[in-house]
Symmetry: C2
């Protein structure tokens, strides 16, 4: 598929872009091309002022009264309801709080409690690591009652036997960007008597998601990627209304029916509130809400179309580099299977990502040999994509990546 | 004990107060007397600027590179090491992350794994509810292997039988402020073959704590009370160096030995890092660090002495009100048994706390009949205590609390 090959056409695409107005709503340094919004989303301009208000007015002036007066105590549900609009969920089915990992634990243990005769949590190898690590922690604590099973990605549906209680999959794979068919996979899980838990970390705000249309059981996801909620933002948890009678294992006081009665025994709140645990992280939630509010101004269909257009353009421009410099496409071409990123394998992937920084392009390395380029349609322009490939061509043509300091790997998220 | 009964003496006490200089380091509205710093600490003036820097510079400009460049990724350990200085712990024994409730779960499950032949988690009734709720969630998930037992406070040491794996107690009781003897109770737990987990939510920054002197095994606590870390601040977890080989149940990627190798199997990091779970909450941690940094400028011995002096003054001034208006002291007189708060029982406790707000005094109601006054020596003056009792006297003398709107209870933390 040819998007364009002329600079003039790029300008035309940017001019005609119905999402172009959103770029100015973010703080983005001139010259920088930021292709890592699927790791840490950029800063919405509104966020700093919002946080300042929470700190100076709500905390500084309102102090303890802000739990009610500034509606801190219901922020997890309020923001959850907003996220629900992005994900095809109903009000009262999502809360925003805790980390993705902790919410995975909540979703898996809730799902296990709804399938008492079964022992397996099933997932795929190469899934984002924390998903499988959390499964393994549950297995270790279960005293033999729970088995954490991760099989080859292609074998996962065939592994749905009658001992699988819950299937945990990521809708958009973190490395390849491959999209799972949520409705079909959920149908298969249900047909086998299992529940489906979806990790939407690379879906929310990036592709159209329809949790209830797909009959999903539980879902969790990250607040700091396409939701632009800030570093380490609170994550979210979806529990379909029909599953909200499950008893939480992380049974903290904010999930209690009457937390401020200070009762001696746990009595879970009705509805989604029982999936809260400790005191909500107010500052992080305020930043997350600013990011979600901004995203809600955009049309999700427009976002998806632009994301695919940016990906098409990227792959088109990369074709000569694949021939000349040994890049190999490591993500899907088919729009139905493609998330909001493109990935290439290259033996020097790590060094190239480092060298690109000197050209003011921020991309991501994922072990062992993947360059990952996140496409965030709210703040990327078509010309940024073309410019990225030009800078990458320079890095390769000059072997700018071949410096000793780039051979020492450091940790990045 | 008589502290003073003359206004002139109060001014002298405030002039001679070695901690007086700290009051200006907080944002406190003129006229307000804030006696709820043990529920939500006041706002340090440095916090807003620090958050602004994290948002604008580290997130907005640094973006993903700030995980290393601004040391986000090691913030839980760095701040943990600072909190360790307040609590008699060593560097590498504390991390700051997640909520208190989630950290209780981590500490209890780690302790259980170290006492495999035993089934009980023991605590006391009237403990802060989330502590016992988290125990009950573990019991519910354990399939009969774990029993959550909460006995009368006076009976807890006698309940240390040879089936108790772990004793969970709060050092300073949230309602009465009563202080448990950490060293003696821990000794008793160890003598019975159990481990001791301490909740320090009302201790840290309020009284002198010596975790390693007391041979404590695990501890957890809250960041938003005397540490002044902001609403819903990250909490902290202490694991004594000798227990850091325990396998975490909440085995998220930030507790992995090599999180950025994206390996398929969980391999816990050495040391305290394995008690991390998901991605650290960077914004909340930055606010917490500002609060902890401020506290570290003060001398803990001075803080404790002033706290007791404020309490003595409060009780002295309250004596006439006890006689005339039916208040009954509900906290300890003995300095060795008294945390940084005083509490009174009164049949109209809830209404009186509401009425005090009109007199610009913020105190706390705790069901069923307790008025709780938090004493925060960093920002309270002796004259604030005397003034509080005068305003309380007016509330009672005029029956200002007897308004219909005060009879409708609302939730406050």
């Amino acid at each position: 598929m040819t998007v364009t090959s002329l600079a003039a056409d790029l300008s035309e695409l940017d001019r005609a872009d119905p999402l172009a107005r959103f770029r100015d709503r973010f703080h983005l340094r001139d010259g920088l091309i930021y292709l890592d919004g699927n790791s840490l989303g950029a800063l919405p301009r509104a966020t700093a002022a919002r946080l300042q208000q929470v700190i100076a007015d709500e905390w500084g002036e309102g102090l303890i009264t802000s739990w009610l007066g500034a509606e801190w105590s219901t922020a997890p549900q309020r923001i959850g309801d907003k996220i629900a609009r992005l994900l095809g969920a109903d009000p009262g089915e999502i809360v925003a709080t805790d980390s993705t990992s902790v919410n995975i634990f909540k979703a898996l243990t809730a799902a296990l409690s709804l399938r008492p005769g079964r022992s397996k949590i099933l997932s795929e190898k190469t899934n984002f690591p924390t998903d499988v690590y959390m499964m393994q922690g549950i297995e270790a604590f279960s005293g033999g009652r729970v088995k954490a099973v991760a099989v080859d990605p292609a074998a996962v549906l065939d592994a749905l036997d009658d001992d699988v209680a819950v299937l945990l999959l990521t809708q958009v794979h973190y490395k390849s960007g491959r999209v799972r068919d949520m409705a079909e996979v959920t149908r298969r899980a249900h047909a086998a008597g299992a529940l489906a838990v979806w990790d939407l970390s690379h879906s929310a705000g990036a592709i159209e998601v329809d949790l209830n249309g797909a009959q999903a059981d539980f879902a969790i996801g990250c607040g700091y990627k396409f939701l632009n909620g800030g570093p380490g933002a609170p994550a979210y948890l979806f529990a379909a209304a029909r599953h909200q009678a499950a008893t939480p294992v992380l049974s903290g006081w904010f999930g209690h029916a009457r937390p401020f009665s200070f009762e001696d025994d746990y009595d879970p709140a009705a509805g989604i509130t029982r999936f809260l645990c400790g005191t909500p992280p107010v500052l992080g939630l305020a930043a997350l809400e600013a990011g979600v509010d901004l995203l809600l101004e955009a049309d999700m269909g427009e976002l998806r179309r632009k994301s695919l257009r940016l990906g098409d353009l990227f792959m088109e421009r990369m074709e000569p580099l694949c021939d000349r410099h040994g890049f190999e496409l490591a993500s899907e071409r088919d729009p139905a299977l493609r998330g909001s990123q493109v990935a290439y394998a290259h033996p020097q992937a790590y060094q190239i990502v480092q060298a690109l920084k000197e050209y003011d392009v921020v991309a991501d390395f994922r072990a062992p040999d993947i360059l990952r380029f996140g496409l965030t349609p709210l703040y990327l322009r078509h010309r940024d994509i073309a410019e990225t490939v030009e800078r990458l061509e320079q890095v390769c043509a000059t072997r700018a990546w071949d410096k000793p300091q780039y051979h020492q790997r450091a940790a990045v998220t």
